[in-house]
């Protein structure tokens, strides 16, 4: 079932068009990513979905609710973690959760939520004393305290160190296991590849492509490469005979095979048939970054 439907969303500000024409739909229980460079219209899109901005055109429904006409109903089913929204320095972690819980008719028992985001030890700490990762985890908790069906998470891990980023990613996966549908805005392809079931690539206010991360990469037909040191000399012809292989080059003792599709299994299988063991095997796959570049002619970051 489509929990979020966006069709032909258009939004302009006084002097420029932020979102030209964006359509996508998100299934219940999915983590859907909106990926694109800064200024592509990602945040404006989710702000319209969250009922914070009024679209100039198009149609949005969240669980059948119109974010413009039925704001009050939307508030009960959608929790938002906004880009760079921060709390007053003086508020304590538990007070923030307790306060936000009081805004909703049927909130989560917030001490459990505190535990879930790993902030129980920081219960009495002031917001101003929290690290970036702790702030983001609190922010996620606040977005979830009203038992939303949909959580919008905007630039969740920007500015976090790698460890904190991984902690937040685990948290997001855990939330999805609890049945919350997640709309995730990011400009990190690594984040999108790791977390998202499907991704919409947005560029210049339009959807360049939408698919699973693997589908997007495969769709643009970019080469992958398999690099290995063969235990016995290999005949290029053996490899070139494989339909997946486009080219074979040599780099000292190493063989580099380029191609598409299920390249690595095909190559290793062919080598095994000739009783050759691929040592130092490394597989380099195209990334969402590469796919984005191929689709839009632009780099993601």
């Amino acid at each position: 079932m489509n929990l979020i439907e966006v069709s032909h969303l258009h939004k302009r500000y006084r002097d420029h068009v932020a979102v030209e024409d964006v359509s996508f739909s998100v299934d219940e229980g999915e983590i859907f990513g909106i990926l694109g460079p800064n200024g592509a219209g990602k945040t404006t899109t989710v702000e319209c979905v969250s009922g914070l901005r009024k679209p100039d055109g198009g149609r949005i429904r969240v669980a059948g609710v119109d974010p413009v006409g039925e704001r009050d109903r939307l508030r009960l089913i959608l929790g938002a973690q906004l880009q760079s929204a921060i709390l007053p320095d003086q508020i304590k972690v538990w007070e923030a959760l307790d306060l936000y819980a009081s805004f909703y008719p049927n909130p989560v028992h917030w001490p459990d939520l505190l535990d879930q985001v790993g902030l129980t030890a920081k219960r009495d700490a002031r917001f101003g004393k929290l690290s970036g990762g702790q702030r983001q985890r609190l922010s996620v908790a606040l977005a979830l305290v009203g038992r939303p069906r949909v959580a919008v998470l905007d630039e969740l891990t920007t500015g976090l160190d790698p460890q904190a980023r991984r902690d937040v990613w685990e948290l997001v996966e855990q939330i999805r296991r609890d049945g919350v549908t997640i709309l995730l805005v990011t400009h990190f392809m690594e984040e999108a590849e790791r977390l998202c079931d499907r991704v919409a690539l947005i560029d210049g206010g339009k959807v360049a492509a939408a698919d699973t991360p693997a589908g997007l990469i495969a769709g643009v037909g970019l080469d992958q490469s398999v690099r290995f040191r063969p235990s016995e000399p290999v005949d290029d012809g053996v490899l070139l005979a494989l339909p997946e292989v486009h080219a074979v080059t040599r780099d000292g003792a190493h063989v580099v095979v380029r191609g598409t599709g299920n390249l690595a299994p095909a190559v290793t299988l062919a080598l095994a048939e000739h009783r050759i063991v691929p040592g130092d095997l490394r597989i380099e796959q195209a990334t969402l970054d590469d796919a984005f570049l191929a689709l839009t002619g632009r780099k993601l970051q």
Partner: protein, 243 residues
């Protein structure tokens, strides 16, 4: 009303700000008020002593100006800049509540300053407790409402959180002048006194002093303050941005 509880706790944790609002006018009152000649009848004030009404009423005006024009706009502009108001507007509770709570807290802070000043002026300087008390309370409420409305306009106009209290401080100086902080209204030249009569600070100071001395406030002064509430309140409603 969890918002009120949390906002109050945060204010107390950030205690230097409210302390300055309360302690600075009180300190000035006690230091300047202890100058012996300030307790003697002064012909410039029509036979009143400085400490009778001029000193305590003007220090109350100073407190109210500080609260309304710097503390309130500073807090609201910070909340807006940090996205706190916007964040709240994604919940079922409108950020208007935070604004209402902030107005209430600052009104209470002003009332606290009034009580402290009245009590200390009585105990230390021998000033009277406001003799026309209901009138005094009315003037206090009306004047504070007018100043808080001006504070909301400042919060609406300030582009950043840092600039809001700066605008407030700049606005405070002429307000203090027209209220008679440096030149008591009695000895102002007629033109200046007329200007003072029509600027919010002048009517507030004059009406506080009138009721303190046991007289009725002048209708003109009440009208000017009421008009200020409507005008600045209306402007604030039109100009205030939640993000």
């Amino acid at each position: 009303m969890k918002i009120l509880a949390v906002e109050t706790k945060m204010l107390l944790r950030d205690w230097p700000a409210p302390l300055i609002v309360l302690a600075l006018p009180l300190g000035v009152l006690l230091i300047l008020g202890s100058i012996p000649s300030f307790s003697e009848p002064n012909p410039d004030l029509g036979g009143q002593a400085f400490n009778d009404t001029q000193m305590p009423a003007l220090m109350l005006v100073l407190s109210l100006l500080t609260v309304s024009l710097t503390v309130l706009p500073g807090t609201l502009a910070t909340y807006r800049e940090r996205g706190i108001l916007r964040r709240m507007s994604t919940t079922p509770v409108h950020p208007m509540r935070v604004l209402g709570v902030q107005l209430f807290i600052n009104l209470v802070l002003g009332a606290l300053a009034a009580v402290l000043l009245i009590v200390m002026a009585k105990l230390v300087l021998g000033s009277a407790i406001p003799k026309q008390l209901p009138g005094f309370v009315l003037v206090f409420l009306l004047g504070t409402a007018a100043l808080l409305s001006m504070g909301l306009v400042i919060a609406a106009l300030a582009k950043t959180a840092k600039v809001a209290p700066v605008i407030g401080s700049v606005a405070m100086t002429p307000m203090m002048f027209v209220s008679g902080m440096w030149t008591p209204r009695e000895i102002m030249p007629p033109v200046l006194r007329t200007i003072s009569d029509y600027s919010v600070g002048g009517p507030l100071a004059a009406a506080l002093r009138d009721t303190w001395a046991g007289n009725a406030p002048q209708p003109l002064h009440l009208v000017v303050m009421a008009v200020a509430v409507v005008v600045f309140g209306g402007l604030a409603v039109r100009l205030f941005r939640w993000e």
